[in-house]
């Protein structure tokens, strides 16, 4: 597997060479996500300065949840952006077949082929939000907390990727995966705010079925000392289960593609 790591690094370097060709766009891309975030955050600030708390969560606590979600999302944004474009950019054009005649895993090739640097903007913004809110809330920057946050963010990222992978597999049946992926991905909007503000059915959906809750709400609850039981420790497990499921589903889709062609 070190070979794949080495290969990924090489893909990454070549990708940056491409991006450097379009230097202006590189910067615009990196800052565009930050600009979009600014709009959203300003909105939250505008609203929350008028009220003491949102269902018992004050402004900085809300920002903590928001920041954790942003960091989790940035990971799929950076490393798995091609799951959005697999339909129109690869399968429809026939370029996907190229992956099948190369001696590396096609999924690896698909993901490695495009590192999306815009995601870096989100990662940094998210980290800043988490850092600032922790400071304002007096949460210690202890080793335990830092490790917990890193693991949570990574698990969160894997959950995002897993869900996008499951929906991306639809490309092998309908030649385009964006609508299906969009429908599931959009559920992460719920996880931007504390899940406690929603009806219990939504909480259940976002915990057990489309587990975006594990990206932001449960880790935030842990850091804030809010009692939600054992759920605060489950993010890595949920991530592993879902990515395993997702990969099996992807392989199933690949098998279908080999029988029916494009």
């Amino acid at each position: 597997m070190t070979r794949y790591l080495e290969l990924y690094w090489y893909f990454l370097i070549q990708r940056f060479k491409i991006l450097m060709e379009y230097r202006l766009n590189f910067f615009i891309g990196a800052t565009s996500t930050a600009i979009l975030q600014a709009a959203s955050l300003t909105a939250i600030w505008v609203v929350m300065r008028q009220i003491p708390s949102l269902n018992g969560w004050n402004f900085y606590e809300v920002i903590l949840v928001y920041g954790l979600l942003t960091m989790g999302e940035s990971i799929t944004h950076m490393f798995a952006d091609n799951l959005w474009t697999v339909g129109w950019n690869y399968v429809r054009s026939g370029d996907f077949d190229r992956f099948l005649v190369r001696p590396i895993d096609p999924l690896f090739h698909l993901l490695a082929d495009r590192f999306c640097h815009d995601g870096i903007g989100n990662l940094i913004t998210g980290a800043l939000l988490v850092g600032v809110s922790m400071q304002q809330l007096g949460i210690a920057f202890s080793l335990q907390h830092i490790v917990y946050i890193i693991i949570s963010v990574l698990s969160g990222g894997v959950i995002f990727i897993a869900l996008n992978l499951i929906t991306a597999t639809s490309v092998f049946w309908i030649m385009e995966s964006i609508p299906v992926t969009q429908m599931v991905f959009t559920m992460n909007e719920f996880a931007k705010y504390p899940l406690s503000i929603y009806h219990s059915s939504i909480r259940i959906l976002l915990t057990w079925i489309i587990p975006y809750g594990f990206v932001s709400f449960y880790p935030a609850s842990y850091l804030l000392g809010r009692d939600v039981g054992a759920l605060v420790w489950l993010s890595p497990l949920v991530a592993l289960v879902f990515i395993f499921m997702a990969y099996r589903i992807w392989l199933f889709g690949l098998r279908h593609y080999s029988s029916t062609g494009s």
């Binding site: 800052t31 709009a39 505008v46 309908i174 299906v180 969009q182 991905f185 931007k192």
Partner: protein, 270 residues
């Protein structure tokens, strides 16, 4: 919301690159839009309910007014998006400016009509969502026909204002090679300052002043204010007058700026 915007932009790109759509795949796009809009509406409703948990008014708006306002803004959100800048960029890359300008009808008028037709189709597609929002999400619409009349007139005026502004803004495409970043800024500013994310009345006064100086509010917040109980029928003439003023000023400005930009391109070739 951010992701929604970003994804919508990438969807435009995807659609532009797509060849024939199978019937099934096309329906999936419609379904996806449906689901995405419903999810965002659910999020909004619960969010605002939580916001209003301990208070009955905020900045003079009741929960019901705010929910109506936000849901309407979400349902009408395609109206603040723009493809003009992509369109200009595309035209320039294809070298089609000269062709477009030689067509018999005035280009601006022609594009505006096409644009409005598309929007109309899109809104009609969204009618089921309006129904759902009205029946299940607590969107409360007035029964006074005068308010509806005021709304529609204001909507049309506001849309023209926005179109003209975008016409001007899109001229930047003549000067910059990659339009993606510009469209991101436009989308972010557009959503925020049109009051689509947060009612303008709740913003601190300096932001409200900023919003008043931008045309986005005219296209969304202003018309929607009639249906959410913020503006009355009596306010209509005054509001329309402001919109018409915007319209006339932008009409002149946009044509001037466009003329300059086109001359630059045709002189330099391409």
């Amino acid at each position: 919301m951010i992701q929604a915007l970003r994804r919508e932009l990438s969807i435009y790109k995807a659609i532009a690159g797509m060849a024939a759509k199978t019937r099934l795949a096309y329906n999936m796009w419609v379904w996806a839009d449906f689901v995405v809009t419903i999810v965002s509406m659910i999020v909004f409703v619960y969010f605002w309910r939580a916001v209003y948990a301990n208070t009955s008014t905020l900045s003079g708006l009741s929960l019901s007014q705010t929910i109506t306002y936000i849901l309407l803004a979400r349902l009408l959100s395609p109206l603040v998006e723009t493809r003009t800048i992509f369109f200009f960029g595309f035209m320039i890359r294809q070298g089609q400016i000269a062709v477009e300008l030689t067509r018999p009808l005035d280009m601006q008028l022609r594009i505006m009509t096409e644009s409005f037709a598309e929007l109309l189709v899109f809104l009609v597609q969204r009618l089921p969502l309006f129904l759902i929002a009205w029946l299940f999400f607590g969107m409360q619409l007035p029964s006074d026909p005068a308010l509806w009349g005021a709304f529609f007139i204001s909507l049309v005026l506001g849309q023209i204002v926005l179109f003209l502004f975008d016409w001007m803004f899109a001229c930047l495409a003549f000067y910059v090679t990659e339009t993606w970043g510009l469209s991101v800024v436009r989308v972010a500013a557009g959503s925020f300052f049109s009051g689509a994310i947060v009612p303008l009345m709740m913003m601190p006064s300096w932001l409200q002043k900023l919003a008043a100086g931008l045309p986005f509010a005219q296209a969304m917040a202003v018309p929607v204010s009639f249906l959410s109980g913020i503006s009355t029928a009596a306010d209509a003439p005054h509001i329309w007058l402001i919109q018409i003023t915007w319209l006339l000023v932008l009409l002149v400005l946009s044509r001037i700026v466009f003329g300059i930009a086109v001359r630059k391109v045709t002189v330099q070739g391409g």
